[in-house]
Amino acid sequence: MKTEHSRAEMIKEISGVNPLKCMKCGKCSASCPSYNEMDIKPHQFVSYVINEDIESLVKSKSLWKCLSCFACVERCPRDVKPGKLIDAARQIVVRERGKNYLLADDIPELIDPDTPQQLLVSALRRYRR
């Protein structure tokens, strides 16, 4: 397993977020529709990454409670994008399971023809990079 330091670095790289820009104002948490479901709150994603406590982050309920609605990203006064951090943490979990990516050719088969267009757009938005 990777060290906490390298996992934190990876999260920063995947998300493109500089957590030091955060001024701990709490607006992300105030905006988050899943706040009450979360054990680690959106403003804390940032400090967990700064403090390199990634294990707690990936084990948290929040990892799967975040809706990727990106309200936090939209409203953060310092352009920190905390939602992208939790997103990156999810990707780390996926990667660590060995399922790093999808092959482009496999995608059409995986998609249920009834999947709404909107969901596809949202997924792309979530994972675009």
Binding site: K21, S47, Y48, I50, N51
Partner: protein
Amino acid sequence: MQRIGVFVCHCGTNIAATVDVKKVVEMALHEPGVVHAEDYAYMCSEAGQELIHKAIKEKHLTGLVVCSCSPRMHETTFRNAAEKAGLNPYMVEIANIREHCSWIHKDIEEATEKAVILMRAAVAKVNLDAPLKPGESRVTKRALVIGGGIAGIQTALDIAEAGYPVDIVEKTPSIGGRMSQLDKTFPTLDCSSCILTPKMGEVNAHPLINIYTYSEVESVSGFVGDFTVEIRKKARSVDMNKCTGCGVCQEKCPSKKTPSEFNRGLNTRSAIYTPFAQAVPNVPVIDRDACIKFKTGKCGICSKVCQAGAIDYDQIDEIVTEKYGAIVVATGFDMIKLDKYDEYAYSQSKDVITSLELERIMNAAGPTGGHLERLSDGKAPKEMVFIQCVGSRCADNRGKSYCSKICCMYTAKHAMLIRDKYPDTNVTVFYIDVRTPGKNFDEFYRRAVEDYGVNYIKGQVGKVIPQPNGKLLVQGADLLDNKQILKEADMVVLAAAIEPNPDVRKIATMLTASIDTNNFLTEAHAKLRPVESPTAGIFLSGVCQGPKDIPETVSQAGAAAVKAIGLLAKDKLLTNPCTAHSDELLCNGCSQCANVCPYGAITYEDKEVNDHGVRETRRIAVVNDALCQGCGACTVTCPSGAMDLQGFSNRQILAEVDAICR
């Protein structure tokens, strides 16, 4: 018999909504002496004053009562209006029916009744008013600045630049104050002495500025425009005119064990010393408590090595008496003592230091030559912890209730400078709030976090525990992550609260200038007169009035200078004619009035009096008009009713009481 006009103001709805102003007018017309009464929406306006003017002329009024707001607001306005119409301004009385009546009552009937009573009392007083004429006093065109920190330096320079002579009294051997102890200064990080030293030199060279260092104000008497001040020039034991500042005495002095005040006791100095290399004046003093010659009579080495023959062991304190028109207080601040904050282990570990000590450690001229190192073992610290608000924002009796204002910024500065010079050293700051209002200040703090990776943690530290291995265990909490934190640090820096220099109490008493419960000098008005003391002729500059950084100190210093210049530019001041006088036939010379007079205005003279045909010499109280401030303390103290105050005579006050009780 007076011919009195009563003018009742509505103050828009401020008064008229609660007081039946028409009723007050109607009632006024029944009062003795009243020949005219009217009401108006805004008496203080041009149109209102015009009404007053017209009534004085047409009805040949000899006295006025204006029922309006507090005399603090508009007494001068109405007195000037009366004077323009040819009336003596002291024939005007204000009945305060706003602050004392409409603003504090809800019931219209009650409020109206009270307004009528206040009007009646004022009418009774005007009936006994007599025209008064203010006297004149001269203005000594010289200013005194107490304290030679950056505040005092800037004020003195600004006053002198306007062409008035200034004396600075500084109690330590050099001017410069705290700023001379600082390393670099936020928000631009320029070196403190690089920007201060030229100003010190300028003050020293200015033909209109005279500096008394190692000196203190001994006594102050007099009043605005005409203060007499005694200054104690402590014996320096070195002749200022002969000393060349070579420093050889300090080198050779064998008594080298006295903690250096300038370096906050982090190292020692000799008995004969200048506090720092750029000291102004560059003339040492002998600390007689440490000097072997003064203690045992032996030694005298400095005198032998001094080529200029400047050492003079026989010097004695000298008292200089000088007159001033204006006095500026600029006595600055110190850090609080930390003996009540044992939890931070300040007295237990040499590696727990205050921020001001850190300034000295970071300074190239400081005790470690500018190397950041632990004072216990000289090792370079790898983990530094800063603790904010130590002794600030405390409601208990250990600390101060206020925010010291400068520490958030100087800690960001310290953290940034350390990370810049020693990138391997981690810096953690425990804070309650980060307070950085000011031009480019928040950006400065953000740079510490974003560009220099300083770790800010929200939460005060609970305690610091020195470990057997020499480390310091810091126990704090991260309130945003809800975690308790245990951190091993090599050095802990405490942003201790600042407080006014303790001897400011003595100075304030001498000047009859008021101070608040924290010993900060009080301004005449928190918003509108922030650099003036309520005592006329006394001005405030720098941290002695409240916590400030250098830019704010310098702006306030300039503002205080302007106020002082405004005073010095006048040739004469009008004095308040409402002063006390004793009736020589009633005075029995008991001395009680002199005991209560806060301004020392009363003396006694042996006077020949003619008491119903009997001629005899009696000891009689005499009031100095120039000193009397009209406070009235003597009039109520005098057991024989001999003391009376012009404009507020005993008869007038009793007439007012009678009118109220009628």
